[in-house]
Amino acid sequence: MAFTLKLPAPWESRGWRAKIRDRERVEPPHVTIMHKAKAWRFGLRTQQFLDAEPDPREIPDEVLEATRADLSLLRQTWDRMYPENPIVSKTPKKPKAKRKHKWYK
């Protein structure tokens, strides 16, 4: 069952939604904030928007604050729904170059 975050009443009645659905693009973990025909993917690892468009500034502050306030709930929900790609499994970073000389020892 899809998860719908409870948003402050006036924004919900104006058609704002925040959802994690049963089939999403799996990587990176995110919640989708929707308003009418527009959608914004908000990353649950980085707390950053994942896409350049539409402009995240179109989202009312109250909606974004409510989303951030329930971040731990959203993260738990993602991990329950997508155990194959949990929040803690960060995108692997490129390994650091090995030191060639151990002169400091």
Partner: protein
Amino acid sequence: MVQVNDQLLLVEPRGHASGKFQRLKASRLHFQSDVRAAMAQRRVYSLWIAPSEPAMDLLLGTLPRRPRGDDRRLLSFERARGDAQNLVHAHFRFVVSAGDGVQLLPIAELIDVLGADNRADLFVGGVVLAAQSALLLYRGNLEPITIPLDWFASRPGSPGPDVSKFAVTDYGQTVRLGDYEAATDAILYEFDEDYRIRAKRQRIEKDESIGGSIRRLRLQKGLRQGDFPGVTAKEIARIELGKVKKPHRKTLQKIANRTGVPVDQIQSY
């Protein structure tokens, strides 16, 4: 004479205007001369809407004798009677008819989707093809896309998809099958390479490496690193980490075989 300068064309005979479509920013075609003028214009594609029986009658009565092969698409709310349906298909590349069992978005949402710049990335409706175990979905530009029903996999602890309760919701952004919901974005990402390439360009955080693509592809398909016959989990991990910059062609072929994605499309993920 109505100026026809838009891709959206609403057939609305005088005296039969539908209040429901008042908000839609489309060129209105009231008379046969309007329809003829619109037919004569060349566009990348045109999306025609016939919301009523009189609208269908006006349209059918004005179709030219010989189709020019332009890319016209028709959304109708009344199925053309009898043989006229063949005539419609002769003149329109894609025809979506609510009278053919297609479930459309509620009118208020439909108008927003048809008027949206990103209408091609949203669904306006669809129909379950039980015999083919597939879901036929229509995008806002009326292009069809067919999704196998088994793609809608259950999530742990959640009810599975109920195809008897199919609907498109959230202004075309969600496909609902009972309590189960799938993101339109996820469907298009999986089944439309052009969409996937555009979506990749949109991402703020870019990891253009082949390892990043393989990791996203693997996770999208719900696979673990050890799920690739003939390639060890360690090797997959090394590729994803960027320790292997250019995986061997044979390795890529094995990844392609397991994921069902052609080698040349792996990097689109």
